[in-house]
Symmetry: C2
Subunit: 141 residues, 2 copies
DNA sequence: TTTCTAATTTGTAATGATTATTTTATAATT
DNA sequence: AATTATAAAATAATCATTACAAATTAGAAA
């Protein structure tokens, strides 16, 4: 996701209104490495915005997603997690505690490999989901 | 997934009953490369088993999944797709028609790469989800 | 073959995430 | 300040999945 200031610019250009709710969601996402869900964002904002609606969080995240500002993760089949870091990277989900963490290694060579063998498919994107046990859960046992 | 005959052996050993419904689901999965969902299996079996229940399909697939006989895909956030091919491989989903196809290339070297940089995480598994446009949809335009 | 029992099937209800809809409110512009 | 298009909020609807309870049945044992 862009910095708040450039995001504000983009919104103005796109004719999107800068409501307090949107700005609050932007700020919650900014630099957020917890891979939040709609509900976790909603819960964290309810305190300061008692009137905040779940729908607003859904809508704003969907808008940001369509703008390409945030990533929607598929690593958790139960609910969507979002990532304001839209630079190419991958994810690891701990099978024990459910925590999702970034895997920042670059695997771009994968694409060439696949394109080679499937020349009739146009691959626009890929992501790798890792599963296992995180350091914290390992230490617990 | 094992062949039907070895699967039947496994079930007997595990004390699982071989009901007509289960056998029908086994047969539907056997060699199935369409990455079926619970509902698609249910729909295809309703004709021959008018009494078949969606719950039974859910239960049987869950059982097979827990036995490690089938894979549960996370490439479609809307619903679970299953794959009776439990040999390590990956998937491609066409953004246009939604079709899911196998990517059979071996990427095991990825693991070593990650283990190296995250020595405190134990990675048990990973899968790659590719997205793009399939050959059929490419030709259409 | 018949009986017995634990496992399974089935139908239905509950849950939880997401989407749709409608009314009210408001940001941004004139 | 008035206008208007956009957004927020509240609520209802939808859809996949899970939970549950009652009826059925596969398979073992008599």
């Amino acid at each position: 996701m862009d910095s708040i200031v450039s995001l504000v610019q983009k919104c103005k250009k796109a004719g999107l209104k800068l409501t307090p709710q949107r700005l609050a969601i932007f700020k919650t996402l900014d630099g957020n490495k917890t891979h939040p869900t709609v509900d976790s964002i909603y819960q964290s904002l309810k305190k300061d915005f008692p009137t905040m609606s779940l729908t607003t969080v859904y809508n704003t995240l969907e808008t940001l997603y369509e703008m390409g500002e945030i990533i929607k993760l598929d690593i958790d089949p139960d609910k969507a997690h979002f990532d304001p870091d839209n630079k190419k990277h991958h994810h690891f989900k701990c099978s024990s505690c459910g925590k999702i963490v970034d895997v920042l290694i670059n695997f771009s060579e994968i694409l060439e490999n696949v394109e080679l063998q499937n020349s009739n498919f146009t691959i626009t994107d890929f992501n790798i989901n890792f599963r296992g046990i995180c350091d914290f859960c390992s230490k617990k046992n």
